[in-house]
């Protein structure tokens, strides 16, 4: 009997102990250690706040020389010519906002659709119906398939987020651009008068960048929107059904308005990601210092400018690039803080219910 022998072992072991060693108040060393440990945890927590301050100050401090030299003109002017020491980042700011907003429109349409699809259990329903036609819907193994498929789909969408952005960039460069180029050039020939199609797509450009960017922000929006939709109290849904609403009357009239704050927070965070996204854009947007609305023209974004210019920057260029980084930091910090605040409010509201 193992348990008896282990019990006797424990008894023998305990018999050798000095009770005073166990049942004693913490020694001075232990108390000192406890205190030091608490302080350490506190310091590490405070470090997070200091880190943000340090990040901002480090970049701002390094940008100071350029700020003094160019002032706010830096943000308004459009030429970037290191040889003439003329620097302006308006095209980059425009490119950043333009690509991010376009990607946000596409990404949130598909992201919210996927969130509804996931939270309503459509896939499970489809699989269940399929099983029903072969009469396996209550089978002990096959009957679990609907749940399994739901989980699989959720994980697949999360997997989209796990693929590194440089891999999406590579894919966009060698697969997407050759694939969409004929269609884009056809559009340009037929509808060249329309501002969005006013140039040909000769390689990298806004459209491939937006395409890849929207894929990259989709998982963020889907995950947060799905959480918001799932946390809508079930009684609201039941009440809507009870009043005779159809499924989509319920979704559009009850579920989406109730979850709107969470969905909005997810979209704002997705926007923040799109603004800061670097690699896919550096590879796909074309790095042309151009102020354009055409979808097929090359352009540039702040993050791509930093990624492309920093490795070759001389001592003179660094403050200028730091200034550009500061502008990007300001834009993303504002967007992220708004997103985090909205989400926090949404969470608070859900708890209050």
């Amino acid at each position: 009997m193992a348990s008896v022998s282990s019990q006797t072992q424990i008894r023998e072991e305990v018999a050798g102990w000095n009770p005073g060693q166990i049942w004693q108040p913490p020694t001075r060393a232990q108390r000192w250690y406890d205190n030091a440990f608490r302080r350490l945890c506190f310091i590490f927590a405070v470090f997070t706040i200091l880190l943000i301050a340090w990040l901002v100050l480090e970049i701002a401090f390094r940008a100071m020389p350029a700020f003094r030299q160019y002032g706010l003109n830096f943000i308004y002017s459009t030429t970037w010519d290191p040889n003439k020491a003329q620097y302006g980042i308006l095209p980059e700011i425009w490119g950043t906002l333009y690509t991010s907003l376009l990607a946000l429109v596409v990404g949130s349409a598909f992201g919210v659709a996927a969130a509804i699809f996931l939270s309503e259990g459509y896939l499970g329903e489809i699989v269940f119906k399929g099983l029903k036609t072969v009469k396996l819907q209550h089978h002990p193994i096959w009957g679990k398939l609907p749940e399994r498929f739901e989980l699989l789909l959720k994980n697949l969408i999360e997997l989209l987020a796990a693929v590194p952005s440089v891999v999406y960039g590579l894919w966009g460069l060698f697969v997407i651009i050759p694939m969409i180029r004929p269609a884009c050039n056809w559009l340009h020939e037929q509808f060249g008068w329309f501002p969005l199609f006013s140039t040909t797509l000769s390689g990298p450009g806004v459209l491939p960048a937006v395409f890849v960017l929207s894929i990259m922000i989709l998982p963020t929006i889907t995950a947060i929107s799905r959480d918001a939709l799932v946390s809508v109290p079930p009684k609201l849904r039941m009440a809507a059904y009870g009043l005779g609403a159809t499924r989509w009357e319920t979704i559009l009239g009850v579920l989406l308005p109730t979850a709107s704050r969470g969905i909005f927070g997810g979209i704002v965070l997705g926007f923040g990601r799109a603004l800061g996204e670097t690699m896919a854009l550096a590879m796909l947007v074309g790095n042309a210092n151009r102020l354009t609305v055409s979808l097929f023209s090359p352009a540039n974004t702040l993050a791509a400018l930093l990624a492309n210019s920093f490795p070759e920057a001389g001592a003179k260029d660094i403050p200028v690039l730091m200034y550009a980084a500061l502008v990007l930091l300001a834009i993303t910090l504002v967007v992220n803080i708004v997103g985090a605040l909205v989400l926090e409010r949404a969470a608070g509201k859900a708890e209050a219910k």
Binding site: P26, Q30, R31, Y33, D34, R38, C41, F42, F44, A45, V46, I49, L51, I52, W54, L55, E58, I59, R62, F110, G111, A113, F117, L118, Y122, I126, L153, I157, L159, L160, V163, P164, V166, V167, Y168, G169, L170, F174, V175, I215, T246, R247, W248, R273, L275, G276, T278, M279, A282, M283, A303, A307, F310, A313, M322, L328, V335, N336, G339, A340
Partner: protein
């Protein structure tokens, strides 16, 4: 007996032999079924199919990327990739052994920095629940989650590269650690907060100090959740390119030269190799970029799966 009262009662209670009134009388059941001819249900059918199509459309890129990786990267996959150095332009063959080692070393260094910092900060957040400071720290961590990766690189460039005078693995690791920190803090906090209060109270009741409770009860119990967070952060950091572009730069050589490992020199990484080689006009380099992308995605997936395997037992409980 007054007849009126009886008759009024009889009105209230239906007579036994009367047929039970049908509550659905006059309801047209066909009216309630999904049908293409009625606008209400037509909209439901249209929107349901629209949402289904959009979800599957959204998944196509994922499969397209994975398929291209396996197709184009898999062709090139061989053992030599893991042991050889990157080729010079126009040179055939070659591999990216140094980039794999560089990625692992930088991610490892970043984990060494962030795990103690992040886990203990998470413990603080979970323990000091109501305090104002904890709220601010939590908010700071949430804001830091959305911090653009390129700015982490810019910061490390200013704080480390300019200060130490050169590109190095250390600078790359510091840039990565900024991106890992918030994930680790937030997941450790929620993992520690999920430990049942009675376990903590039992430990305190037995006379353990706060530090003893944390080390012997909270952290061991919360370990699966913490490990999941760490692995997710590691997976994210392994795939990051932007913070490494101008902190670790790139190198065509091994990190160790003549038996000594020097962390203060430019270091190769898989992600930067993909970026550099994808822009080159040489077929061999582009092929290598695809193979490196396959290896990188596999690496990230492995980290993710390890992380999820830790969280599995928790879900079943």
């Amino acid at each position: 007996m007054s007849k009126d009262r009886i008759s009024s009662k009889q009105e209230l209670i239906p007579a036994q032999n009367d047929p039970v009134p049908n509550p659905f009388e006059g309801v047209d059941f066909a009216e309630l079924e999904l049908s293409l001819y009625r606008p209400r249900t037509l909209i439901t059918i249209i929107l349901s199919s629209l949402v289904t199509c959009m979800t599957f459309l959204a998944l196509i890129p994922l499969f397209a990327v994975l398929w291209m990786l396996i197709w184009r990267g898999g062709q090139k996959l061989s053992l030599a990739l893991f042991t050889q150095l990157p080729p010079a332009p126009l040179e055939q063959g070659g591999g990216f052994g140094n980039a794999i080692v560089g990625t692992l070393i930088m991610v490892g260094l970043a984990a060494l920095i962030t795990v103690p910092l992040g886990v203990l900060a998470g413990v603080y957040l979970a323990e000091a629940k109501g305090s104002q400071l904890a709220e601010v720290v939590r908010f700071a961590a949430k804001v830091l989650t959305g911090f653009p990766s390129i700015l982490a690189g810019v910061f490390a460039y200013g704080a480390v590269v300019l200060a130490t005078g050169g590109y190095s693995a250390i600078a790359g690791a510091i840039a990565l650690s900024i991106l890992m920190l918030p994930t680790i803090i937030l997941t450790s906090e929620s993992a520690v907060a999920m430990v049942p209060a009675k376990m903590k109270e039992a430990s305190i009741g037995l006379g353990a100090t706060g530090a003893q409770t944390v080390w012997m009860v909270l952290l061991p119990t919360a370990m699966p959740g913490i490990l999941t967070g760490v692995m997710l952060a590691v997976a994210r950091a392994a795939g990051e390119t932007a913070p490494l572009l101008f902190t670790a730069l790139f190198s065509n050589y091994w990190l160790a030269s003549s038996g000594r490992v020097d962390f203060m020199q430019p270091t190769a990484s898989l992600a930067v190799l993909i970026y550099n080689f994808s822009g080159m006009p040489f077929a061999n380099q582009v092929e290598l970029a695809w193979a490196a992308a396959l290896v990188l995605v596999l690496l990230v997936l492995i980290f993710n799966l390890i992380g999820q395997s830790f969280s599995q037992p928790q879900i079943q409980q």
